[in-house]
C-alpha cells in the first residue's frame, strides 16, 4: 500500500513538474460568433465565454449585472463594435471595474477596427432613417473574407497577452484560414449557378454574405432598420418580389415571423428561418457550420 502510494505521489509530482499548470487566457466576447472565432484561434490556451447567445438579437441583450461579473476577471474582451452593443455593453464594462477592458484599453479588442465596413451612410445621418448604424453595418462576421481579418487581429492580440503562445496562435490561425478557404471552394461551387439573384431579408444582417456570394437583397421586411413592417410596406415588397423574381425570404429565428408569412401569403415566396449567429441552431455549432447553414439557406431561397 505504502509502496503504491509513494509511487503515485512521485508520479503526480513528476507530472506537475513536467507540465506546469498554465492558466488559460480568460477571453470574454459579446457574441457567440466571436467566441467561435476565438476558439478556433486560441484552442486550449483560451477559455472563452460569450455574453450573449446565438438565439438572441445582439442589439437587444439585457445589461444584466450578472454579465458584469463575467467581465470582472476577463483577460481580453472582444466586441463587434460599430454600435452593435451600444445599448448594453458600456454600463457592464464600467460596473465590472476591469479598467483594462475599457474602449482603447490593452485588453479590449473591437473586431470592427480590423475590417473595412459596408453600408457607410453618405450624406446626413439622423434617426428618421430608423435605428441606423452610422459607423457601418456591424453584421460582418458572416463574411468569409472578413472573418479571416478578425481572426488575425484576435491572434495578434492573444500573442501580445500570452507571448508564450504566439507560435501556437499563428499555427491555429493558419489552420483556420485553410479551413475557411477549403469551405469557401465548396460554397462557391454551390452558389455559382445563382450569381446575380436576389432575396429578401428582415434586417440588413446578410449584406456582407450576399456581397461575397455575388447576390443582392431586393428589399428588406423592415422599411427602415429597427422599424416594424407595416402592412403597406409588405404590400409594396410583394411588387418587388414579382419584378425582381425573388423566390425566398430569409428571417433570423429571433424575429417575429408575421410579416414574412404575410409576404408568403401574398406572393408564394418561401420563408426560410436561419440562425442569427453561431449557436443559433443546433447545426450551427461553429463558424464554418454556421456559414454552411446560411449558404444552404441561400441556395434554397433562390430555387
Amino acid at each position: 500500500m505504502i509502496h503504491i502510494a509513494s509511487s503515485l505521489s512521485v508520479a503526480v509530482l513528476l507530472a506537475a513538474i513536467a507540465s506546469p499548470a498554465r492558466a488559460a487566457v480568460n477571453v470574454v466576447t459579446t457574441t457567440e460568433g466571436l467566441a467561435a472565432v476565438v476558439r478556433e484561434v486560441g484552442g486550449d490556451r483560451v477559455k472563452v465565454t460569450a455574453l450573449s447567445r446565438g438565439i438572441q438579437d445582439p442589439h437587444f441583450v439585457d445589461a444584466n449585472p450578472s454579465l458584469a461579473v463575467k467581465l470582472r476577471n476577463a483577460d481580453l474582451l472582444v466586441d463587434v463594435g460599430m454600435d452593435l452593443e451600444i445599448g448594453w455593453l458600456p454600463p457592464l464594462v464600467i460596473q465590472s471595474r476591469n479598467s483594462a477592458i475599457l474602449p482603447g484599453g490593452a485588453r479590449r479588442l473591437t473586431a470592427a477596427a480590423a475590417v473595412p465596413p459596408m453600408d457607410l451612410p453618405t450624406g446626413p445621418v439622423d434617426r428618421s432613417q430608423g435605428d441606423i448604424h452610422p459607423s457601418g453595418n456591424p453584421h460582418f462576421l458572416v463574411d468569409p473574407r472578413r472573418v479571416q481579418l478578425v481572426a488575425a487581429a484576435i491572434a495578434a492580440r492573444l500573442a501580445e497577452i500570452d507571448p508564450g503562445g504566439a507560435a501556437a496562435y499563428t499555427d491555429r490561425l493558419r489552420a483556420f484560414r485553410a479551413k475557411v478557404a477549403a469551405a469557401e471552394k465548396g460554397w462557391k461551387a454551390q452558389l455559382a449557378p445563382f450569381a446575380g439573384r436576389s432575396v429578401i431579408t428582415q434586417h440588413k444582417t446578410l449584406t456582407y454574405l450576399l456581397d461575397w456570394a455575388g447576390m443582392t437583397a431586393a428589399g428588406y421586411l423592415e422599411p427602415r432598420p429597427g422599424v416594424a413592417p407595416p402592412p403597406s410596406h409588405v404590400a409594396s415588397l410583394a411588387a418587388t418580389v414579382r419584378s425582381a423574381g425573388v423566390k425566398g425570404v430569409l428571417v433570423e429565428n429571433y424575429y417575429d415571423r408575421r410579416s414574412a408569412d404575410q409576404l408568403r401569403d401574398l406572393t408564394g415566396v418561401k420563408v426560410i428561418v436561419i440562425p442569427g449567429d453561431v449557436g443559433g441552431t443546433k447545426d450551427a455549432s461553429d463558424w464554418v457550420s454556421f456559414v454552411d447553414v446560411l449558404v444552404r439557406a441561400l441556395v434554397q431561397a433562390v430555387q
Binding site: A63, R72, G87, P116, A153, G226, A228, D256
Partner: protein, 385 residues
Amino acid sequence: MVNVALLSLLAAQAVGPAAGPAAPAPGTPPAAQDAVKEAQPQPFPAGGYNVGSPGGIPIGKLMLMPEIAVVVDGALGYTTLSTEQQERVAGPLPQHKAWPVLQEVELAFQATVDPYIRGDVFLTFTPEGVEVEEAFLTTLSLPWGLAVKAGQIYSPFGRTSQLHRHQWTFADQPLSMQRLVGAEGLSGAGGDVSWLAPLPWFAELHVAYQATRPGFAEDVMQLTGVTRLIQYFELSDSATLGVGLSWALFQAEAPVQWKNLAGADLYVKFRDPSSRSSVVLQGEIYGRQLGDQAFSEARWGGYGQAVWRLDRNWEVGARYDNAPAPVAYEGGTQETWTALGTYYASEFFRLRLQPSLVLLPGGQSGFQGLLSFEFTIGAHAAHPF
C-alpha cells in the same frame, strides 16, 4: 459613438464600396484600436471639408466631445384629488382639470475625463426650476473591485429611488417612495464607495456619506449615511432574481427629523432570450422611524408591480402602492391601484397611458390619469435592465 461615426463618414468619401482588405500577416502588430487605419492616408473629398490651418483632421477635435443627450417628458394629467390629498407628491396636479405639463427636460453630458475617472452631469429643467440632478466623477481603475462616485449623487438606497425619470417604467414614482423616502428620491452632495465582491454572482456593497434633504424636511439638509447590498442571481437562462437591502441613517436634529430609513427590494425578470418580450416583477418595502418616535411607531409602506413587455412596441403593467396618507388623515394609509399601457414607437420615443384609483382613509377615493410622452435626442443611452 459620435467620433467613430464622423471618422467613418470621412473615410467613406474616398474608400467607397468595400475596398480590398489589407490582410495583416500573422504576428504583425494588431489593427489600431480606434477606427483610424494608421498606414492609410486620411482622404478628403475635393471641395469638401475645410482642413484647417492647425493640420490633422478637424474631426479629431470632435472625438473629445462628451456624449450629449436630451430627454423631454411631457404629459396631460387629470386628477380628482385636492392639493392637500396630493401632499408630498412631485408635480401635483390642479384638481378637476385636464392639465398639460412639461414635466422635465433632462440634459446629460457624459465622457471619460482621463485614465482615472469618468464624468457624468445631468441637469433637469422642470416647472419648479433648474436643478443639478446629478454631477459626479466615477473612478475607472481602483484595485480590489472598488469604485468611488463623488459629487451630487442619488443615494444608493432602494431600487426605484435611484432611477432617472427616463428610466422609470411607470409615468410616476410609487407614492410610498415619495412619502417615505422623498418626493424625488434621496440625493445630495457626497460620496459613494462601492465594492464588487469576488463572488461568482453579482454582489455589490455600497457605503455612502452625503448631505441630503429627506422627504418631510426638505429645507433642512442633514448628514446622511447610506448602505446598500444588492445581489443578482441567475435562476435560469431566462430568469434573474435581484435582492437588495438598504439602510439610511440621518443625523437627528429638531424638530421632525428622520432617524432611520430601511428598505428591502425584490426584482425578478423573465426574459425569453430569443425575443423582445419579458415579464418583470418588482416590489419594495420601506420603514421610516422619525427622531422622536419609538420603533413601534415607525411608518411602513411599499409597492408591488408587474410589467409585461409584449414585444418591441407594447408594454402593459399594474402597480399596487401602500403609503402613509397625508397628514390631515392622522396616521392612516393610502392605497393606489395603477394600470399602465405603453407604446414604444422606437427606442427613442414612447407614449404612456396610466390611470390610477386612489383609496384614502375614511372611504374617500379619487382618480388620476396621465397621458405622457417621452423622447430622447443625442447619444444612445443603455437600455435599462
